[in-house]
Symmetry: C2
Subunit: 195 residues, 2 copies
């Protein structure tokens, strides 16, 4: 078994217990993709037919609005999933771009293979049910914080929640994720250094 | 079987097929609660130990920020689930209040019973996995729209997406859900009537 596969199995086994047959079957469905820095995994306007598990690297998903303004919707580092879930489940065009911020390696599973996997190994329903619960709660917290929390506090929470990730990501992307301008985030950072 | 149970089974059977034994077992886990208008199903500061399925009525979930400002995070009418998912999954104090906007009836399942249900009838993993996918995508769309779409367009989308719901809910709550003041939403409505 490759190192890539070992890392996704370790992740899966934290949530559900697989037999060695189930492991082998799951692994047989995965494809592997390497991305250079700034390369795209998903592009808006194309259908996102895969779920992507990050084995190595760092990526961001973003949305470009009608005024050509970018809005970062998600980051992903090792052991995170990233893609355009709306496009994946509906088969409609993706709204998001997913771009590698570092040289990255991902494992992909197609919609067709994931559907078969759910049927043959229902434990994966459980895995993705649990995963989605956490994703939903995290997104809900973020939405609430954007509505009701001062910018400085939102930045502090982000740094505390994802300390390793924050150190790898350019300020401009973190600012976009937190819904503020890079200038404003720089100002907050300077203030934090001097208090 | 009661009418209440018939309505939740009809909903479940749209997504997964249950045997009559599985139906009976599922129904045996549900409790029933009636709420008067303005009565609370969940309160911030208490643990939300149940998932709630709305059989009749209309409810809203909201968050009160540090400045005592309310922010509506979700509405639920017939065939929707509502609660504080973060509290339900972590066992920590709820952040949300869930209040009945109309006389309402809900069916409740406790965390303990839902855990057993997942183990005994894995089809429910599938049901909630699919449910969470849709909830995540809807929340993500809403988050993006709040970041990038003019207020009038957000209101039009909401009216088109949930026409029946919008007619039942006071303007003040819709405004809060859409992240604008009631005065601003009134102005948008007047403009729409005159164009």
């Amino acid at each position: 078994m490759s190192e890539l596969h070992a890392s996704i199995l370790k992740y899966v086994q934290q949530i559900v217990t697989l037999t060695s047959e189930e492991e082998a079957y799951f692994i047989s469905l995965l494809r592997h993709r390497k991305l250079k820095r700034r390369q795209f995994l998903v592009q808006a306007g194309e259908v996102c037919g895969y779920e992507h598990f990050v084995v190595k690297g760092c990526l961001r998903a973003y949305y470009v609005d009608a005024n050509a303004q970018e809005h970062v919707v998600q980051f992903a580092v090792e052991n995170w999933w990233i893609g355009d879930l709306a496009s994946f489940i509906t088969g409609r065009e993706a709204s998001f771009y997913v771009e590698a911020l570092e040289p990255s390696e991902v494992l992909l599973i197609s919609k067709e293979d994931l559907t078969t996997l759910y049927q043959r190994v229902p434990k994966f329903e459980r895995l993705f049910r649990i995963l989605l619960q956490h994703a939903f709660v995290a997104l809900q917290e973020r939405t609430i914080q954007n509505l009701s929390m001062p910018a400085k506090e939102r930045y502090e929470r982000f740094m505390n929640k994802y300390p390793g990730m924050a150190a790898r990501i350019a300020l401009v992307h973190i600012a976009s994720y937190l819904g503020m301008t890079p200038e404003f985030l720089s100002k907050i950072r300077r203030e934090m250094l001097h208090t």
